[in-house]
């Protein structure tokens, strides 16, 4: 007997119920019903909640009225951090006029030498102050991972309440999960040496969020 058959046989013996096909049909029905667990009641508006939580996770947050203002703000912010005025961007934000703000931007996957990565996001989750990024041809995951600084553009209209709402949006807009969904909540961190929290373990040391526009 193969390992698969043997293990499943053991599991079936333990489960101790007949009619696997009937139980599978019930399971499929149950999955389609999408019963959520206890849901949080988020006080106040989602935008304020998102910003507050993101800051508590050691991200910095800037609010801008529209996309036009983004390149100049990024240039000023990088200069203030004494970081080089260059970045790798995902394709979905490559169309902004970075050059006009004095930024040398390249789009595509990040390499080790990239100091700053700029990405958009699929949506953001107010409950925890979290970004939701989807991997894809236009949105390589390495941009939010390899550079020491990650800048993310977050349209205010794409801030949802919970992870469940983010999944609902994903299902309605994309149908299925991409290869990688990455929920990102602040800079990478570790506490593995004497429980002392250090920002910048393997991923970015800094996360700067630019929230654009107002909630619809």
């Amino acid at each position: 007997m193969s390992a698969r058959e043997e293990i499943l046989a053991r599991v079936r013996a333990g489960v101790g119920k007949p009619d696997a096909a009937g139980r599978r049909a019930l399971a499929e029905t149950w999955m389609r019903a999408r019963s959520p667990g206890p849901q949080p009641v988020l006080a106040g508006d989602l935008l304020a909640r998102f910003c507050e939580k993101a800051v508590s996770l050691a991200s910095s947050v800037e609010r801008l009225a529209d996309y036009e203002q983004v390149p100049a703000h990024v240039a000023a912010w990088l200069a203030a951090q004494e970081l080089p005025l260059s970045a790798v961007t995902t394709l979905d934000v490559a169309g902004l006029d970075w050059a006009a703000a004095g930024l040398a931007c390249r789009s595509g996957p990040a390499v080790d030498a990239d100091a700053t990565g700029i990405s958009g996001c699929f949506c953001a989750v107010a409950e925890t102050g979290t970004l939701m990024l989807l991997s894809g041809t236009a949105t390589p995951a390495s941009v939010s991972l390899l550079p020491e600084t990650h800048i993310a553009l977050v349209p205010a209209s794409r801030i949802v309440g919970t992870m469940e709402e983010a999944f609902a949006l994903l299902r309605s807009e994309r149908g299925q999960l991409p290869r990688a969904v990455n929920f990102i909540s602040g800079p990478s961190r570790t506490g593995d040496i004497e429980q002392t929290i250090v920002l910048g373990a393997h991923g970015p040391c800094r996360v700067h969020l630019i929230v654009i526009g107002e909630t619809a």
Binding site: I7, R24, A27, G186
Partner: protein
């Protein structure tokens, strides 16, 4: 699977050594209030969002139970959906089969170096040793795992594997491995040491041919592996190499993304007191043809190694475990010993249940008994595992199989014989009271007591007088 590499039978001698290790004790003393304090703070904030811990853990336990009571069905749904997205799904009966499957995949793809994100199953299988023996270099990339890999040790905690290591020990390991002179370090240098490891491990990430990770959950509806990390190493390992192998236990499956979202409200809070971990990744299938990064091949290895035998048993509740570490973070025994004394992969209360079940009850006789019965573990468990009751059940099995020491069995039988004969019991307790009082010799305490040498090794035995309550009560009634 039998004892394997378990050292749990040496619990007593290891414990004796650990309580006397000042470096370890200092590290544990420092970690203890941090672990419990952070969790308590995050749980206390739940009502601000209209949530309650008790209600959430009912929901989380319910989700895990739903998966476990039809585990065969959910595994098949997971497998079908994972395959539909291009992943390969393999099954392993035990640790040896895990090693065989991983090495086989690695060799077929000419892999020379593997980067690993933390996987307790790879510890169950002793995969690193097997990889090295096959000429493949395994590199642990979680900072804590990296430290203990350099030290040639096993993790002593499931989420803080190097909690037992001091700053000085880390400095010595890094100096030796990274080829630099050793320096005097203070806690202000911890960011610099972290950065040093980041630089070294970054090169490994970029040059590895294969990534190995565990999975916090398998999501059946989409055939997805969920990976929860803070450092970002999990993302590196699953993004950069061309080949990704996920090794995970068969019990980790949950039905839907909604279920996963519910569990995520308690997992980080229970583990580190975070409302959410820095990176929560949902990994499904392989990269598409147009994509320029991500693995071209994803392999799931679904592992039994003792789990299937728990399904439908009196210990099925143990399979709910989501590996948050809260039980050990609140265990007075764990914080007196650290994890290594437990002798196998999983320490603390969950280990005291899992080690006997997975490696043989007769090979871990101390673990179910090395508990004060304080129930702190079950009061914090996010999936309501009745850990003390499960430990108790294992004690009963030991008794039924005649595995308890003869002195204990005889003593209890004599005690019960006496306790069911009240007149004789009264007479003997009167004698005992006089004997204790004589030993105390007017000092109100006994310093060395032959009947309880363990007790008086570290404490006095307070003695109140030479007459029992029933003796005095009878005298009062007569007056």
């Amino acid at each position: 699977m039998k004892a394997g590499h378990s050292q749990a039978m040496f619990f007593q001698s290891r414990a004796a050594e650990k309580v006397r290790n000042p470096v370890l004790q200092k590290a544990l003393q420092k970690a203890k209030p941090l672990f419990s304090g952070k969790r308590a703070k995050s749980m206390a904030a739940l009502p601000d969002d209209g949530l309650e811990f008790e209600q959430l853990r009912d929901a989380c336990a319910g989700i895990r139970d739903r998966a476990l009571t039809d585990l065969d069905v959910w595994l098949e749904i997971f497998e079908d959906n994972a395959r539909a997205r291009g992943a390969e799904v393999l099954w392993a009966r035990d640790g040896d089969e895990i090693c065989k499957l991983v090495i086989d995949v690695a060799q077929r793809h000419g892999v020379r170096k593997v980067t690993k994100s933390k996987s307790m199953l790879s510890e169950e299988a002793q995969l690193n040793e097997a990889l090295a023996a096959a000429g493949i270099e395994p590199v642990e990339t979680d900072l804590g795992e990296y430290i203990i890999q350099l030290a040639g040790e096993a993790p002593s905690h499931i989420i803080a594997p190097a909690v037992h290591k001091s700053l000085e020990e880390v400095e010595a390991l890094f100096a030796k491995t990274h080829g630099r002179p050793q320096e005097e370090r203070t806690s202000a240098d911890i960011p610099a040491l972290t950065r040093e490891a980041r630089g070294v491990l970054r090169q490994h990430f970029l040059s590895a041919d294969m990534g190995i990770s565990g999975a916090n959950f398998l999501i059946a509806e989409s055939g997805t592996a969920a990976l929860v990390t803070n450092e970002g190493n999990g993302r590196m390992v699953t993004t950069l190499p061309k080949l990704h192998v996920v090794i995970t236990g068969i019990e980790k499956v949950v039905p839907t993304l909604e279920d996963f979202a519910t569990l995520m409200r308690l997992l980080p809070r229970s583990a580190t007191g975070q409302t959410i971990s820095n990176y929560v990744s949902l990994l499904t299938g392989t990269r598409s043809e147009e994509e320029v990064e991500g693995p071209t091949k994803t392999v799931f290895i679904l592992v039994d190694n003792g789990r299937a035998s728990l399904v439908g048993s009196a210990y099925q509740e143990m399979l709910r475990c989501i590996r948050c570490g809260a039980c050990m973070n609140h265990c007075p025994v764990y914080f007196s010993l650290g994890g290594h004394a437990y002798g196998w992969v999983y320490p603390g209360p969950m280990g005291s249940v899992l080690t006997p079940l997975y490696t043989g009850i007769e090979n871990a006789l101390d673990l179910p008994h090395a508990s004060t019965g304080c129930r702190q573990c079950s009061s914090v468990c996010p999936v309501r595992i009745p850990l003390p009751d499960l430990m108790h059940g294992l004690r009963e099995i030991q008794h039924e199989r005649g595995l308890r020491p003869w002195g204990e069995r005889l003593g209890l039988r004599a005690w019960a014989w006496l306790a069911t004969r009240p007149a004789l019991y009264r007479a003997l307790t009167r004698l005992a009271a006089r004997y204790l009082n004589w030993l105390a010799d007017g000092s109100g305490r006994i310093r060395i007591f032959g009947f309880a040498p363990g007790w008086t090794a570290a404490r006095d035995l307070p003695v109140a007088g030479n007459r029992t309550f029933f003796e005095q009560y009878a005298a009062r009634k007569r007056d």
